[in-house]
Amino acid sequence: MSAARSCRPPRALAGLFVWRLRNTGVRQIPCRFVHLYHVTNNRLITFQYFNFLKRMYVTQCNKDLSQRAKPKSDSIVSPFHELQQSDQEKKVVHKISPVSPVHQSLSEMSSRNELREMKSAAETEDSVIPVGAESKEDRQWKEMKLRLDDLPGILARLSKIKLTALVVSTASAGFAMAPVPFELTCFLLTSLGTGLASCAANSINQFFEVPFDSNMNRTKNRPLVRGQISPLLAVCFAASCGIPGIVLLTLGVNPLTGALGAFNIFLYTCCYTPLKRMSIANTWVGAVVGAIPPVMGWTAATGSLDAGALLLGGILYSWQFPHFNALSWGLREDYSRGGYCMMSVTHPGLCRRVALHHCLALIGLSTVAPVLNITTWTFPVISLPINLYISYLGFRFYRDADRSSSRKLFFCSLWHLPMLLLVMFTCKKPVLQKEDKGDLPGGSHEMAMEIRLP
């Protein structure tokens, strides 16, 4: 990363590639990274957060991603010197194929969004080179007519589809961790309902934030900002996703999950999004938004809100803070000019302290998991190294308070969550008692899963 930072602007592109390659090489697990920013807003996301609406992920640098039902999209982190105009947007999305070949693809990242804000992860997945061509096209006058062939792409960007995918994956993680036999139809309905609710919330978030998005580098290419879609259509789309999504959850899964989904949409669109401009409390609200999707997954499987659901929610809640606070550290200029009240701008000391405290809280929460009979005692032991590592980076961020430590913490949070969820899944306490616990943790777990057909 230091190599990229010492590059002069003309070499920025090469530096960016080098940095990306280096970053990819560090990972041991075979993943494809797509960095998602949230928003959102706020979040976000994000921009993020992202989880059920992490928003963000996003947002977004706010948490953009939190799929939470509504992820906040989070902003992007520019690898360049702060004084350069950060036109580069990077999206990194983690995709980790699960260890066991059986079912759910877990461990996708949920970044906050909007988000915080978000977020919202920027839709543009392109790297450096296409940016030049895009900005040239950008400078032309365009007709404000809706083209049907562009519509899927536009709606995908409007609903922050990648953030939504992360949110759905955290909800699946919640579903998978519930101590009940696995039901495929219920799982699919939950995922679909959560995804629809997330799309709805993200669209409403973008609908509210048009002038602010146009002023921030991360979000200036959104469909509403560019006039590719009318606000009316955005609202109709949100309604046509949100209402069926919530109805699906309420009738097809259970009313508790539906209620949680509706509540999360409300929390993201009516609490987090306006609050982003009024007080720093938005970060905490956004963290809750991010924590709800796994709780929804759990209640979808078990039908009740037990301690396990709250623990999973708690883990995601705590994760939002190092993720979002580290991300927002690099976006202080945009937030300040855009009028967003974020901790990184107004209370920088608090920002770093909170990030550190929540890194440490993750260790505590991982230890509580076996006490609640969700996982075996191997979980706190195996997860200790990664939790200690993120806490160490959180401490460095707290002490140094500079660009490089914030970036390290942010990128660590991106792989930390999927790993944690994956380890948790493999250490899950089997539903049926088996004597041969000496086997592969995944093996004994497999037998515990039955697929019940309707």
């Binding site: 006058w141 404000m144 006039g227 920088p348 500079d402």
Partner: protein
Amino acid sequence: PPAHSHCDWIGPPDKHSNLRPVIFYVPPEESPLERRLREARQEAQASNQRFWARHNRAFRQEKEEFIYSRLKAKGLEMRDESGQKATLNAEEMADFYKDFLSKNFKKHLQYNRDWYKRNFRITFLMGQVALVRALRWLRRRKKNVEQ
């Protein structure tokens, strides 16, 4: 935008406000409802443009002043030996960002309220216009079928 076009046109982002200007198409038989919608959108666009252009200009200006005063306090010039503009690092700028945000807080609150009201009104009018157009189209189709 060409003269024969029948729809609105949106342009590149404005240099000062970063907002994209829209040129609205005025159809020859514009109903009063459609006119209200167009005027609401024009007003919102003008108001947004004014706010953001002024706000961004103030930001840039205050940022320059801040950098200048800090550099002077450190005893440095605005441009160093190679002619490059001297800058402050992120931590020093953080004080400015915090200050700027708190100074403009009330202004943003007022703008937010204003923007949300306008946005809802415009979207609601759009809904009404779309509904009226849809009903008109259905009535015309029914008439064609009957003939």
